[in-house]
């Protein structure tokens, strides 16, 4: 996902001198090409995220479209007030990019587990919050954010699924993608959990349980019509996120249902419930350890279907 983001941003920067990329001293080997090709559009702000976000705001106020780049929680929580007061309140064209969503850097410890970011950032007014599900979505989201004025958060994770879109498919911020169709239940995933959702879909299909799979890449603004339709036309909802169940995708979906007074026949949230993880491990290991992998989704759908 990260590489898809960088590649698209590099392609866009060629023809758009407004585009700038500021890194908080991260991206070794990843941002090098961009920095060499576009030295006037690249700043390494050093290990100083608060200043990075203020700089981004100042540059955006002068007409630039600014992407800030960092990993895990450094570019979000460390400078949350700058994102809120400076970028968002001023409607500044700042796109906060974090690579390492969820357990991408699982072995590095809790400082690097980005597991509350979606809840926190979607609480900010005027923030677009995007967590792409595959490489295509990451690249398309990057371009869409360039073309959409305002402050946004782009959460990329390490899972990298090079999955071709449908013929002629177009990406739109705020619109989910229906990547599989079925009526037994709807699996709604955000971010790289799309891979787990699709794996679960395959297992269930082999058992005769057909599920709809929605890639809800934009958490804010949320695609309410797709959620409501899933309530009405499928056997229940299973939300899937590599994130705390507090305030993330599952919460956002529940808010949509409650506000619309349209309730799913069953509702299960798959996400993190165990608190901080002092246990470390690879992304896949931790997904399994905390019950947010394909097997957990399969079990949830089976229970909804009474299978």
């Amino acid at each position: 996902m990260r590489d898809a983001f960088v590649a698209r941003l590099t392609a866009l920067a060629e023809d758009d001198p407004r585009l700038m990329l500021i890194t908080g001293d991260l991206g070794f080997g990843v941002l090098t090409k961009f920095a060499e090709r576009f030295p006037r559009q690249f700043i390494n702000a050093g290990v100083a995220e608060q200043n990075m976000m203020g700089l981004a705001t100042g540059l955006a106020m002068e007409g630039h479209v600014v992407f800030t780049y960092s990993i895990a929680n450094f570019g979000t929580l460390r400078c949350l007030e700058q994102i809120r007061n400076d970028a968002a309140y001023h409607d500044a064209n700042v796109k906060v990019v974090a690579v390492g969503g969820g357990f991408s850097y699982g072995a590095l410890g809790i400082s690097h587990h980005a597991t509350e970011d979606l809840a926190i950032l979607r609480a900010l007014p005027a923030m677009t919050v995007v967590a792409p599900g595959d490489d295509w979505e990451a690249a398309e989201a990057t371009e869409a954010l360039v073309n959409t004025p305002g402050t946004a958060y782009l959460r990329l994770d390490r899972s990298s699924m090079d999955r071709a879109p449908e013929q002629g498919e177009r990406f739109a911020l705020g619109a989910s993608r229906r990547v599989k169709e079925g009526a037994a239940a709807t699996i709604i995933s955000t971010g790289g959990m799309l891979g787990e959702a699709l794996a679960a879909h395959e297992t269930l299909a082999s058992e005769g349980l057909l599920t709809r799979v929605l890639s809800l890449h934009t958490l804010s603004p949320i695609d309410s019509p797709a959620v409501i339709d899933a309530c009405r036309t499928t056997g229940g909802l299973v939300t899937v996120e590599e994130h705390s169940v507090v305030g993330g995708l599952g919460s956002a979906v529940a808010e949509v249902c409650a506000d619309a007074e349209v309730f799913p026949r069953a509702f299960k949230r798959i996400g993190l419930r165990a608190g901080f993880s002092s246990i470390v491990g690879g992304q896949q290991y931790l997904r399994t350890r905390y019950g947010i992998d394909a097997a957990a989704i399969v079990a949830a759908v089976r229970s909804i279907a009474g299978a």
């Binding site: 006037r40 100083a48 200043n51 203020g54 705001t57 540059l59 106020m61 007409g63 630039h64």
Partner: protein, 269 residues
């Protein structure tokens, strides 16, 4: 109008605004009235008829709690009618206690949480440098605000990138929220710290208009390095019983105190 007249009017407005609305920070506003008057009266290239003029100098008040002083200055300079100042801090008003840009011509940036302004100013200055523009970016900070680590991130950045178009002004009245700066988190040797970080440093009396004119004007534009103007000020300047008093960081002048303050400020022409 001379800058002294402008400063006197700003002080009177600020007294009126904070007393009417019952807001704090009159001492902090009186401390910077002369700096604001010199900036908007003579130094900054701004156009009240065209607040978003691309070539304008940019000014950011990082010590947002003194926002009433900026509103008063802008109104007196013709950015919007002085009549609007009566709304300050009132229900339904957009003239918030901490400076806000929304709906207020001439305010570049909203602040209120300390330690934000200088980074934004550095971003603006960087953009100006990239574009080869000649306008300046000026940011006014409080002394207590320099406790915030984010400022020192910006200070490092601005020196590294030789943002000579950036000026930081410190309102060095030596009093912060609860007590003196020296007894809170000592800043001295303050000028040396800025110099060690790669900035040019000018020191001036923050109430002497002739010296302010020189320091904020031509002097601050010299060279490649960003410039820090340490303005030695008196908190509550112009009202004898407010001067150098911690109390008037928060207290609102009411009744006889208000009348007495007004009499003193009216006499200070």
């Amino acid at each position: 109008m001379t800058t002294r007249d402008l400063a006197r009017r700003v002080r009177l407005h600020a007294l009126d605004m904070t007393s009417r609305g019952g807001s704090s920070h009159i001492g902090s506003i009186l401390s910077i009235a002369d700096i604001l008057a010199m900036l908007y009266g003579e130094v900054l290239a701004v156009d009240p008829a065209n607040p978003r003029w691309p070539e304008r100098d940019r000014f950011i008040l990082s010590k947002g709690h003194a926002g009433a002083g900026v509103y008063a200055t802008l109104a007196e300079c013709g950015f919007f009618p002085t009549e609007r100042l009566k709304d300050h801090y009132q229900d339904g008003s957009d003239l918030s206690g901490h400076v806000s840009h929304k709906g207020i011509p001439g305010v570049e940036v909203s602040t209120g949480s300390l330690g934000h302004g200088l980074s934004i100013a550095a971003g603006m200055a960087y953009a100006g440098m990239l574009a080869g523009k000649s306008h300046r970016v000026v940011c006014l900070l409080s002394d207590g605000e320099c406790d915030e680590g984010s400022n020192w991130e910006a200070i490092l950045f601005a020196a590294h990138h030789k943002l000579g178009n950036l000026t930081a002004i410190i309102d060095y009245n030596k009093i912060q929220s609860l007590t003196t700066v020296a007894d809170t988190i000592a800043l001295e040797p303050f000028a040396d710290k800025w110099r060690a970080f790669g900035w040019r440093v000018l020191e001036t009396d923050g109430h002497d208009h002739d010296r302010l004119r020189t320091a904020l004007g031509d002097e601050a534009r010299v060279g490649e390095a960003p410039t820090c103007v340490i303005a030695h000020t008196t908190k509550g300047k112009g009202v004898s019983f407010m001067e150098s008093s911690v109390l008037w960081h928060y207290r609102t002048a009411k009744g006889e105190e208000f009348e007495a303050a007004k009499r003193e400020l009216q006499g200070d022409a």
